[in-house]
Symmetry: C2
Subunit: 180 residues, 2 copies
Amino acid sequence: MLSEAEWEAARERTVETLAEHDFVLTDEEAADVEIADFGFGRLEEVGLELLTYVNTDRYCAKELVMFPGQVCPEHRHPPFDDYPGKQETLRCRAGTVSLYVEGEATSDPAIEPPFNAEYYTVGHEVVLEPGEQYTIDPDTKHWFAAGQEGAIVSEFSSPSYDEKDVFTDPEIRRVPEETY
Amino acid sequence: MLSEAEWEAARERTVETLAEHDFVLTDEEAADVEIADFGFGRLEEVGLELLTYVNTDRYCAKELVMFPGQVCPEHRHPPFDDYPGKQETLRCRAGTVSLYVEGEATSDPAIEPPFNAEYYTVGHEVVLEPGEQYTIDPDTKHWFAAGQEGAIVSEFSSPSYDEKDVFTDPEIRRVPEETY
């Protein structure tokens, strides 16, 4: 897992990346930036930095920051109880993000899966440049990765229940057991 | 009502304002920017410029651009049929926006209502600077105005049904009968 120093460095880098692109945060938000290493402790390869603006029982909005080449691992948002599963729209704000979803696999994709490649099973590529967006329906497997410049991605969605996310790699823990 | 030239000038100004703050749009989005003059043809005083990123049956996200001093008139989002009414979060991205909601009226508010002042009945002021946000529950009267620099405001919400908005001024038509 990440050390407290690694965690803090990632948080500062996230806030700086957002500031470079004119995204202003309150001090409280800057302190609350979430670092998701998915339990691997290899944040530069597999990870995601998140700021949740709002998550009510009606809707959710987040800013996702990705360092260069960073991968958010394959997962889906299944239905549970009365909830039909999370629908989300990913909108690229800066950099480039390559999104992989169910459908015919793209030959010669922009990004190769990382070290646990056996847990990346969908390969239909959608490359999002700034201003482009894509909506992912509930229970649909997807993963995404930033290009060489990193990326900022706005996520607009139905309510988020991160603890209900199902990752293809059964080792992954989305919600860390310990944070700083 | 606005002339086609006024409409087009407002649209271009909106796209430029967004670009100044690093908000990238596709060409299609830039062409689809919505100009709401609320039927008055006095856009500089009362109006709103909008880009709807997504509006599914689960959630909605928009960018609102306001010219200096521009006022979005008082309205509410009532329930109808099975829909509990729109809940929305307004997040200031640039400039300053003064929001007025139900509750104890603020003495010496930052903004005075415009020409049809009798239709502005709520006066509890919430001033939002960049990075600050406020969530408005359904069926709650509210209006808001940009400060001297104008403003960019992100709106995250449950689905939008603009034609169901109820304005305090019964003359107001949110959805214009004719556009360019």
